[in-house]
Symmetry: C2
Subunit: 664 residues, 2 copies
């Protein structure tokens, strides 16, 4: 390492070392964190942020900024250091000093929403990379719609060995290669170290060959050679394919004894190592002390970027669809959407179709995608089962990126991570379909959407044993309960065509959390035919059939089993019992209603529940698990009617249990 | 296609067409299923089963049989046809006629346990392949232990485009390449078709180049050329690397208009197509009619295999460790294991260590892995966090496959699928570690273990917000509830070192379901110091502190929060309240106890619960969610004490809520 200069010229090493110092010192104070990655990738980050990245700390949400994603999120101090050094006002020295402390923005892993400049939450490995694929796709979709005068930016990703070992990296990068997302540039921290030690323990892929197989441009460079980094990024920016730059680096670079070892990966280095680093690097500043000239050098690129930003703003000001562009970026729906939905619901109530709820979803989507041009459909290779396509969502065409329907391939996890990236980028409202059972594959991406609080919409069809012959591997049992247990997810299971339309409205309106629509393969009648267009599903639960007051039994249900509950209720009425059936399309929304409303819906009479799914969690509303008709095992392969009967999920069973419970 | 011969010579085409006919006719009768894949892969299957596969329908569990895995499990009729034609007695013509019908062995997807010859349940794409990697690893581990005289077989996999698009194929095949599992042979159905149509819609990987990058041997052949198939398999059997044979095939081969199209993929072909196929193939037999000479030709290889089997049995009979080999294959534990555990538990009760339960797990594993040589440890790159290694589990060495600890890399899903394959192969008892949060990545493999009913053991450390600084991306919230909702899983969360040892005993004994041990990063005292070595955790729940009778409040809890519950109980006792604390290491085991026992443990007094996790599902045991101290949001990054306090999970909160509830 060269010594710092005395004059006003700031060297690359000084810039990179300012990252290293901040990362080491903050991890040391927290006595927790990962110094090795920021120290190893400091040179790459320095070149990217000072020579290439298009960003403006004064307007961090500028729609045409380059996106930067730290997929190896444990190296969060790299990002916080960069945001601090380049002048994002929220990441103060005080924040750095309180790294990983409760109530500060500088969490252990970068948390979307904690601070500007954090484009997505990362930490679960591989997902940042997969989310970035969605961002890069959004860029192309928006460019196709609004032109490159307004949308023309890169998506940069830092990723580590762990990211590239994870399966999701395959799904995401295979998809990115297929789509030729040439403005996606991944800088791979090829440091030969993972937590357990040398990557030779478990990981001997030829990564460059692998990415070539995906149709990427892939090169190897020395990740500590600033010129090589600069040249590789410059080349990547002009590639016709996505680029992987495998940067050979030394983890914990500069730490006297721990550099190049897993010992620098996930723990504070200790005072001796830090002292030794300071001496070798000629870094004679106190912890968190950054000389003004170094700050100035970090912030020098801002004037260049600000000019680009200014020119962009002038182009936008003159753009004839400026209002639409801005509305889409802000995430609001087109004016008149509510009326569009209300008119459609009114028609449903008149027509009373007998549809599978997946079919009801497609019919709703026909109306919605026609009215909302930013809706982008897609499926993980189950389009004709999920019924996620409509006349408006024409297939995506390459290389123009015209079209509004993405074939994600058999890549459920990659799809939902891409949905997250599309959503985070802004300007589009994506939804993606798969079988409900395969949300198991995508679960961690749905969780990240919930944690970030973003509008990711998953269409999950074949939502129960009602799918029949495909059998237990394909029949969801515990998925409803498992998402009800997940914070900040709207788990929606509509009972008929009307509720399906209502749930779509809810999903579109819910900008601060993801929604999952669980939809049936089998047909159900339209149950909701009352006049008016109030969206009753918004309340999560309501009396859909029978007596509101004076009842002797309440039957709770969701989805396709509401029809069965009503059949059971009718049998009970024949026996003279006063019954109400409550449809509960969303536990979450129902629990958010005031106590009076909930008490009124649930009533004072004994309650039973029926749902063709794990009974787990229904004791939230009924006294005991014994009062729940549902699944206590996996399903079975067979025609739907036989399967429902086999598991005792029938109107007769409702009547039998209801009579017993009401009489007690 | 050539015409059938009139004599006794049976051609390859006749053999392959017998598969096609059975598949077409069974799907047609069920009016449900996937004819295209069996028709496309019939030639490959014919060559494999008649010329290469080592198996014996008369002893389908012969330990040294080749393993055959149909990873593209929707083509289940291929497997059922093969089992029927080669003489597995369970798959009768009656079974084929009742394909996908309730109560028959011939489910929509192959279900492990339904019939001999089904080596694993498949359907969720990619997982069969990943499970096969575990089988192939088990073969090498057993060969290293017992020699190739007793263990020397191949693992064959059929896989489709969907399998290779799924992320898990990356994890599994990268691992297999790293381990140089040269006896793993994958026959890839490279038919250019997936459900939505041409794979060109979404999948343009160079698969051969990709697998070369993993260190595999990968070749391309014509999947309808019997000689080419034969040669490629013969070459693969002598490879020093795992082999991928990309077989270019025509989906639905021979169907007049639907061959080569997604129309033959997932629905009955219809009578016209079947008639046309019969004519073109000169197949003049009635549905399910197979001439004796064709049966005979299918079964001819059996005599060769039976001789191999017989020679193997003779070698085993002379083997000096025959009893141990047979015990390990049968899955029983070594004699004396119970006493080993009892002695260890007695020592714990005397020593009263203050350990994190992950540390308690490692200490238990030290004892267990010393006593049980078939235990094979491992971690998804978190060994020193999961504490899954012991002095007995020396690292796996290549190419000898000596050693008992597998570095699975950052591949949680691939790891658990491999654990399933190791378990299914038999002879080893594998366990694998990761953070509890990353069971989200592996969830579908855990589900398959539960569905199959096999002893897969997952060590899931850092089991709550108690992990502290890593923050909400790493803090499990809903994972406990989500596994409690999953059928046939033992979700174990021990409270101290004694319960941890007990839970390990339970996991090892539970041969018919998987276990997940949720273990803490933070320390807890030894709570269980009573005399005796009864494994109380086997009952799922029991009074761990305080009054059994005559109580005014019962506090339910699990894991590290049992210590907090007891702290709260002591505060309440100071106020004169009679309190019991119940530890519930397993909801499942507790629910399996008789009503009397459960009533006695739960008591008649009001109940509250405390767990540092989603409160969802606790209403199973307490009256209302309001009586649960737990998480109703994601966690936060910060030191553990502050995080627990921030979310109100404290002894003081227990006392406050307890007082309120008891007094009502």
């Amino acid at each position: 390492m060269s010594a710092p200069t005395n004059g006003t010229v700031v060297t690359h090493d000084e810039l990179a070392n300012s990252i290293r110092a901040l990362a080491m010192d903050s991890v040391e104070k927290a006595n927790s964190g990962h110094p090795g990655m920021p120290m190893g990738m400091a040179d790459i980050a320095t070149v990217l942020f000072t020579k290439h990245l298009k960003f403006d700390p004064a307007d961090p949400h500028w729609p045409d900024r380059d996106r930067f994603v730290l997929s190896n999120g444990h190296g969060s101090m790299l990002l916080y250091s960069l945001l601090h050094l380049t002048g994002y006002p929220q990441i103060t020295t005080e924040e750095l000093k309180n790294f990983r402390q409760l109530g500060y923005r500088t969490a252990g892993h970068p948390e979307y929403g904690h601070a500007d400049g954090i484009e997505t939450t990362t930490g679960p490995l591989g997902q940042g990379l997969a989310t970035a694929v969605g961002m890069a796709l959004a860029e192309r979709l928006m460019a196709a719609e609004y032109g490159e005068d307004l949308v023309d930016h890169y998506t940069y990703v830092f990723a580590g060995d762990g990211c590239l070992m994870e399966g999701i990296s395959h799904e995401a990068c295979s998809l990115a290669g297929h789509l030729k997302l040439s403005k996606l540039i991944v800088l791979y921290d090829d440091n030969d170290i993972s937590i357990d030690g040398s990557t030779a323990l478990a990981f001997t892929d030829d990564v460059v060959e692998r990415f070539n197989a995906y149709g990427w441009a892939a090169v190897r460079i020395n990740g500590h050679d600033a010129d090589a980094i600069d040249r590789a990024i410059a080349t990547a920016k002009n590639s016709d394919r996505p680029t992987l730059i495998a940067c050979k680096t030394i983890i914990g670079k500069g730490a006297p004894t721990k550099a190049g070892s897993e010992k620098s990966h996930g723990a504070a280095l200790g005072p001796d190592e830090i002292k030794g680093w300071r001496e070798a690097a000629h870094w004679h500043y106190a912890p968190w002390e950054i000389p003004e000239k170094i700050y100035a050098a970090w912030r020098a690129p801002i004037s260049r970027n600000r000019q680009i930003h200014e020119e962009w703003a002038q182009r936008l000001a003159k753009f004839d669809r400026k209002a639409e562009f801005e509305r889409r970026i802000a995430g609001g729906l087109p004016e008149g959407t509510d009326k569009t939905i209300a008119d459609y619901v009114a028609k449903l109530k008149a027509d009373k179709p007998k549809w599978a709820t997946r079919k009801a979803s497609q019919e709703a989507l026909k109306v919605l995608t026609a009215a909302i041009p930013e809706m982008i459909g897609g499926s993980a290779d189950l389009t004709h089962s999920n019924l996620t396509n409509t006349p408006s969502t024409t297939p995506l065409e390459l290389p123009t990126f015209k079209g509004r329907y993405v074939s994600y391939g058999v890549r459920e996890f990659g799809m939902v991570a891409a949905l997250n990236g599309l959503t985070l980028h802004g300007g589009v409202i994506p939804y993606g379909g798969t079988f409900f059972i395969f949300t198991d594959y995508a679960r961690s991406a749905i969780r990240l959407a919930a944690l970030m609080g973003i509008r990711t919409i998953v269409v999950a069809t074949h939502d129960s044993i009602g799918l029949g012959e495909d059998g237990p591997t394909h029949q969801p049992i515990e998925q409803l309960a498992s998402f009800r247990a997940m914070p900040n997810v709207l788990m929606l299971r509509p009972a008929d065509a009307v509720e399906t339309a209502e749930c779509w409205q809810i999903a579109l309106e819910s900008t601060k959390r993801p929604s999952i629509l669980a939809l049936s393969r089998q047909e159900v009648p339209t149950l909701r035919t009352e006049p008016g267009t109030e969206n009753l599903s918004r309340k999560g639960g309501y009396v859909i059939y029978g007596k509101k007051d004076d009842r002797e039994l309440t039957i709770l249900s969701t989805g396709t089993e509401v029809t069965i509950a009503i059949a059971g209720a009718k049998l009970l009425e024949e026996k003279g019992l006063k019954v109400a059936v409550v449809s509960l399309p969303s536990f979450e929304l129902f629990d958010e209603q005031d106590e009076d409303y909930r008490a009124q819906v649930l009533g004072k009479a004994p309650r039973i529940a029926i749902e063709a799914a794990s009974t787990f969690g229904w004791t939230r509303y009924v006294e005991t698990d014994k009062h729940v008709i549902g699944m206590r095992s996996f399903g079975a392969s067979g025609p739907i009617d036989k399967v429902y009967k086999h598991f005792g999920i029938t109107g007769e069973a409702v009547a039998e249990l209801g009579l017993k419970v009401a009489k007690n």
